[in-house]
Every structure is written in structure tokens, then in C-alpha cells.
Symmetry: C2
Subunit: 453 residues, 2 copies
């Protein structure tokens, strides 16, 4: 029993939906289908969900929204026409929108309901299409399916009590099509999930029905071992563990939003990333346990936009709680830190630069200076982090040696090395302008040389 | 103008004091002499200060202390006799001790006063000896010199207001001999410094008179670049910076007690470590600023007895303040941490094992588990830390590459790498039983190969 989730670009038009239908037909284990709202069909096109938001903005501003209303409903009419279905569902959608606008609902409630229409309408259409193809299929509204969520507008989370009812979905005959992105509170109010919402729904359904596999169809064939913007046509990863995936998601790997897979992970359900255009390609499998230890490094993640606050104070390491007080100043200012490497008398705190406004930066530096009486304080911006990821890597004696050699070959100075806790990753901080050449050098070392180390 | 301090083994007997007198005579810049109490003359001998403590313990316990009193005063009588001086000073010492015991002083006050007698008596004797040799010399009691200290028994610190008076010592004619280890409070009470007390006095005098050099005479010719217990006859360090010295003092380099040099450092006075037996050897010079950047690594420090507490929690890095709360649990339990390397979802805290009793370890692990709801928690003991030290090292692209290669060549797995903050050091955590072979491999790489990298 499989749960197959299709992202926005996989359901952007009728042509894509035909591909999706073929995928469903090709494997009778594909019993649960979760769909996003139609995404962009071409560069510069609108995502349907963005049109809904524009529509609401126009309505709220009291300007004429008829054109946008037509635009969004026509997106669906084009799909139904191309699939040789009636316009019943798009016409009904138009009525529902007008009706929603006539009700006295809070703005937040309006946003959540309107945002859900893309997924919901598409699920209805696709279920009808499958039926037309002679496949027994049922549209299931999330309320009926049992997706009971917390009462947070735009940021709902699944409640544990939902799972009992979700398990009953297994008994439903034929294919079940469920719209992604939203659920209902215990009192029956609609709430959307945060970003990556359809991935979340898919993951919840997979956990709920205890699926054998959660297939996540998108427009890439698999997860690359390195950011393809930095390395030309890099190798693909065939197998990852949850932990590796999570470390990779740190940066440069945005296949999933981190939290999306939590429900599936908790039930140890394998996840596969597949390409709707090439459904027979194996894709990238993500499992709970490592199976193949032959490659110490499975991927290289990287990200820019870090700053390092450096403090030095003579005899710092004699002061119990010094590090604590330093970090507390940051937390007080609502700045989360990524790393805090410390020497004997010095300590750096690595933070994401976007958290530091000019004003906040000055305040934090001033507070550290005045409250901790440090001898030296400085801040360095424009840092990039590179993370080598591979479970069990820390047991491979020469990974660090190979990595540092590759970085030196790129004539890059290491500002920071962090390998300490994780058995899954080793991190290097460098200056941003050296990022590409350094990642390329690491790629050559770990992915183009001998297959193992 | 130089301040020359002589440690306990350098003033253990008359023969040594003759060497010291020669050293003073050899350079007329050596105007200020700070002496310790006589140390051990041979393996198994008593340090004079230990005899004073034994004496006090006997007095306090109400047992007969006459034998010990004779033993300690005879140590000085032997010195005065061998130097052809009268017994006046040792006889006076004996009277002072008996008198002290007759006064109703607190135990703490008694300890501090008695402990100071070793240095004080030796300074008086040595000044007389210099005078006998025809060198103009004055004994200066710390009160008279102006060493005004805080009111902490056995743990005094110099007060800033002392320096004005100390500067006047420059005007004293001839050689000035000052006993190390103690000072006087503003109300005139004697207080001793903590461990390394004579080094502290020398450092204070050097700062006070704004000396050109603080010479620290001991029984080693210089500071080795690596612990000679781990590497046979290692190279000596000719030049260090304060920062390098401080990082090296982390472990395996116990030439100074860390705090001792602070007064001299604050005034940027160069310090040289010299051997009383070989005063013409250049020794190891310690300066404020790095002058020679040709060698990226000046020394390899290492130490054992570390433990690593490892925690893993999914989505840890989304929790603002997680690291803070973890460290706070340790601080609550009075455990200071050395390093806290963190990954995306995991964090390790490296602590010195001696801080963890079985009970404390269990309590800390339990608190972390229960208060932070971590997914995984474990603790690893028997870790050793190796620290490569060299100011400006972080600017040398291939130091990390060479170091990790050398560690891999020792077939040692790196449990932790910490290079983040310090521009002065790079630290590697390994299993203790690999320490010697790893340090040897690093020594070969950085000290036996090409002179530079």
C-alpha cells in the first residue's frame, strides 16, 4: 500500500494529470493520492494558490476582483476541458468563492479557506478523471478523512488523536484522492498547514494508513549529492537515511520542508522522491536505517548568509557559565545560534545573518562587551557553511583528511571546522566568495575519485 | 631593567643560591630579584613550605612540634652556614614562629603568615649574601614594596592602587630582593597568593616597575613544543606569544600557572623562561605580538580525562534556546564545559571527566532527558584532546589538511574537531588510548618535516 503525493508542477495542467493518472494505473499499490494545487505551467506563470491570495487581497481592498476570479476558475476550466470533463467543479468553485466572500468571516479564516480551494478543487477533478478512466476512485475531504489539526491559522499541526480514524482509510475501496495542505480543527474549522503543506498531508496519510511507501512525486528525478547550481550535473543520491536527509536539508537541498516528513518518519515509513516525468527512474529512497556504508559521504550541503561573533577574554575558561551568559544574550534578542565553537579563552557564535539588523547587531555586541567584560569582540559577515553528510562518517578515519585536503586544494582557508557531535556530518565554515570552488573541490574528492574511501 | 624570579628548585640550597648570585652579577639590568621558598634538593626531600604546613598542623593538633621546628629552621641554618653568613636570620625565624604561635590569631591568618616565612626568610638571606659579595642589595618586605592585595586568605589578588607605589621601587639603589608569594591588605594584614604565588609576585613587580623583561628562572631550559612524555627529546620553543602560551597551558605545559603572568601581560612586558643551571641558553621568550610567522604551529598541547555528552533531537535547531537550556543544566550542577560542538539536530558537550561523579553523571543525563525531551542521549568517556597552537595559524590554508592527514596516518579516528573561534588553536578530540601515537604523528608532520608549511 503506497501513498503518492504530487507537487504543484506535477498537476499544473491536464497533460500532467494524464501522466499522474498513468502513474496511478501502473501500480495498484498506489491507493492514496495526495495532490497539491496546480503550480506554474511555464516560467512566469502564476501558481493557483498565488492567484487565490491575490483575489483575497483585491476583495479585502474593495477593488474589482472579477478578472482574477475568472482567471483562477478558468485555470480549472481549462483542465476539465482538456480532460474531457464537465465544468461542473470549476463552476461550483466560482460559486463557493462568491459565497465565502458574502459571509462575515475573519480575515484569517478567509485566507485559510481560500488557500485550500486550489488543492481541494484539483482533488475533486482528478478523482472524477480517474473514474472516467474506469478506475474506482473516491475524493475524500480532509474532514471526512480524519485530518484533525491544531487551531493555528496557516500553521496547523496534526493532532495525535487523528491517527485512529486515518487508519480506517485503509478499508476504503479503490483509489482515494485527498487534497493536500489543510485539515480541520476539532470544532470543524478549516486550517492550512505551513509551507510544504501537501508534503505534510502526504506524510500524515502515509503514517495514518501505515503505508509501505510514501512516494513524493515532483519535477526532479532524485536528490542530487550536491547543489546543481554549484556543480554541473552532479551525481544523484539513490539512498539516504532520515538523519542524512535532515542534515542535507540544512541548506541547498529543498526537496522537502523539514517538518513535512516527521509523521512518516515517526512510523519509519520509507519515502521515495520520484519524478512525475520519469516515474520508472528509481529516484532517491529515504529510509530509517543505513544499509550501504561503502560511501562515507552521501551528500554535500552548503549555504551562505552566516555571521560569526568572536569574543576573546583572558581566562574565559575559568568562568563557569561564561558561554551560557553569552548565548543567553543572543536568545534574549531572539537570535538563534547555529554553532558555538570555543577555544580556551575565546568563543565564536555562528548565526544566520538575516537575524541581525544593524541595530540588533550593535545592541548584541554592546551587551556582550558590557555584561561579559570581554577583551576582544568582533563580527565577521559573509560566511558560508559546507556540510559533508553521511551516517557513520565519523567512523571513517580519513574523511577529515580528504576533506581538508580538498579544501586546501581550492586555496580556501577554513574559518571554522565543526565535527563534534554529529555522527552524520562534518561542517566547514569558509568565506562566501570561495564557496563554489570549494564545493567543487570536495565534490571531486568524494564523488569523482574512487567510489569509497 | 629586568625582574628575575627564581623558583623553589633554583633556591633549594646554598649551591643554587651561588648560581643565582652569579646570574644577578652577570647582568646589571637584573635589578629586582623575586625568590620562592627553598624547594626540594633531591627526590623525596621536603619543600620548606610543606614543612611549615606540617608544623602548623602539629601546633593545631596540640602535639609536640619541636622536631619539625628544628627541621625547618635548620634548612635555613644549613644555607647560611654554607654561604658563610651568620645564623642571625634563621634564629630570628625560630623566634618569630614561636611568637606567632603565642598570639591569638585565627587559623586562616596563621596559615597565611606561616606559609610566607619560607620566601621571606630566603629573601633576607639572599640579600645579605649579595651584600657580602659586595653587591649593593636591599631586602624589601612586600608591605614596604607596596604589594597591596585583596583580603582573601590564600587567594589574594593585587589591587590596582598598588601600582603607583610599586613604580617608585625603580628609584631604589642597587639590587632589590623581594620575597614571592604574599602581600598585605590595606589594613596591613598578610595574605598569600594562590598556587604559583612567586610567579605572581614577579609578574606584579615587573608590571609595577615597568620592567623591560621578566625573567622566570626555573629548572627547565625552555618550553618544549610538545609534552616530552609523549615525544622523545622534542624541540624547544624559542618564541611564543601570550596567547599561544595561554592555549598551550591548557594541558601538558605547566611552566606557569595561567593567572601568574596576567599583571605582566597587561603591561605587555616580555617574559622569558630560563634555566638557572644554564643561564646563557636563550630559553623561551614570551611576547605580546607575534614576530615570526614562518611556522604555523608552535606547539602541540594535549590532555586526557575528557567526556562527551551527546544529545540528538529531531528539529533541535528550530528550538530557540535549546543549547542554552542544555548548558544551563550543566552549570546548575556546577559542571563547566570545555566545548559544545553542535550539528543540525545534535549537540555534544565536552567536559572534564573529574567533574562527573557517578551520581552527578546520572543526574545530569536524567535531567537532560526529562527536561529537554531529547531523542538520544549518550556519554563517552576516555577522550583526549590535542591542541595545535600557533597564532595566525587559521590563516594557513593547509594546516587543517596536514593535521588531519597526520591523525589519519596514526590510524586514529577523530571524535571531534574544533576550529572555530580561535585564531590560535585547532583542537582534535580522540580516544585516549590513541593519544601518544597521534601526538607523535603530528609532531613528525609539523616539527620534523619541512620547517614551514
Amino acid at each position: 500500500m503506497k501513498v503518492s503525493k504530487f507537487g504543484g508542477s506535477s498537476v499544473a495542467n491536464a497533460e500532467m494529470l494524464k501522466k499522474v493518472a498513468n502513474i496511478i494505473q501502473a501500480d495498484e499499490e498506489r491507493k492514496f493520492v495526495v495532490v497539491s494545487a496546480p503550480g506554474k505551467r511555464f516560467d512566469g506563470d502564476h501558481k493557483v494558490t498565488d492567484l487565490f491570495i491575490e483575489l483575497l487581497n483585491q476583495f479585502t481592498a474593495g477593488v474589482d476582483y472579477q478578472e482574477t476570479l475568472t482567471q483562477v476558475t478558468d485555470r480549472f476550466r481549462m483542465i476539465t476541458q482538456d480532460l474531457s470533463l464537465s465544468n461542473e467543479i470549476p463552476d461550483h468553485l466560482e460559486k463557493k468563492i462568491v459565497e465565502l466572500f458574502s459571509l462575515k468571516k475573519s480575515h484569517e479564516q478567509l485566507i485559510d479557506e481560500l488557500k485550500s480551494f486550489g488543492e481541494d478543487t484539483l482533488a475533486r477533478i482528478f478523482s472524477d478523471y480517474l473514474t472516467m478512466l474506469g478506475i474506482k476512485s473516491t475524493y475524500k475531504n480532509p474532514k471526512e478523512a480524519g485530518i484533525i489539526v491544531s487551531d493555528d491559522y496557516g500553521n496547523a499541526t496534526i493532532l495525535n488523536e487523528a491517527y485512529e480514524k486515518l487508519y480506517e482509510l485503509r478499508n476504503q475501496e479503490g483509489v482515494v484522492v485527498i487534497p493536500g495542505f489543510f485539515g480541520y480543527t476539532k470544532t470543524g474549522e478549516l486550517r492550512t498547514f505551513p509551507r510544504g503543506g501537501s508534503d505534510i498531508t502526504g506524510s500524515i496519510i502515509a503514517a495514518g494508513v501505515e503505508a509501505d511507501l510514501y512516494e513524493n512525486f515532483t519535477d526532479v528525478s532524485s536528490v542530487y549529492c550536491v547543489n546543481p547550481k554549484l556543480v554541473h550535473e552532479p551525481k544523484e543520491i539513490t539512498m539516504l537515511t532520515y538523519k542524512e536527509m535532515r542534515e542535507l536539508s540544512y541548506s541547498g537541498f529543498s526537496v522537502f520542508h523539514d517538518e513535512a516528513l516527521i509523521p512518516a518518519f515517526k512510523k519509519k515509513i520509507p519515502v521515495v522522491v520520484k519524478n512525475t516525468h520519469q516515474p520508472d527512474c528509481p529516484g532517491t529512497m529515504i529510509k530509517a536505517e543505513k544499509e550501504d556504508f561503502s560511501k562515507p559521504v552521501v551528500g554535500i550541503a552548503s549555504d551562505e548568509g552566516f555571521s560569526s561573533i568572536y569574543v576573546r577574554k583572558y581566562l574565559m575558561n575559568r568562568e563557569l557559565g561564561f558561554g551560557l551568559r553569552l548565548l543567553k544574550i543572543l536568545v534574549d534578542e531572539n537570535i538563534s545560534f547555529e554553532h558555538a565553537p570555543s577555544g580556551i579563552d575565546d568563543m565564536s557564535v555562528i548565526v544566520r545573518t538575516h537575524q541581525l539588523t544593524q541595530e540588533k547587531e550593535e545592541k548584541v555586541l554592546k551587551r556582550i562587551q558590557e555584561e561579559l567584560h570581554v577583551d576582544t569582540i568582533s563580527i565577521q559577515h559573509n560566511l558560508a557553511m559546507i556540510m559533508l553528510v553521511g551516517e557513520g562518517m565519523s567512523q571513517r578515519i580519513n574523511v577529515a583528511a580528504k576533506a581538508t585536503k580538498a579544501i586546501a586544494e581550492a586555496t580556501t582557508n577554513i574559518e571554522m571546522i565543526n565535527q563534534g557531535s554529529s555522527e552524520v556530518s562534518m561542517m566547514f565554515g569558509i568565506e562566501s566568495d570561495k564557496l563554489q570552488q570549494t564545493v567543487q573541490s570536495l565534490y571531486r574528492e568524494f564523488f569523482e575519485h574512487s567510489p569509497s574511501s
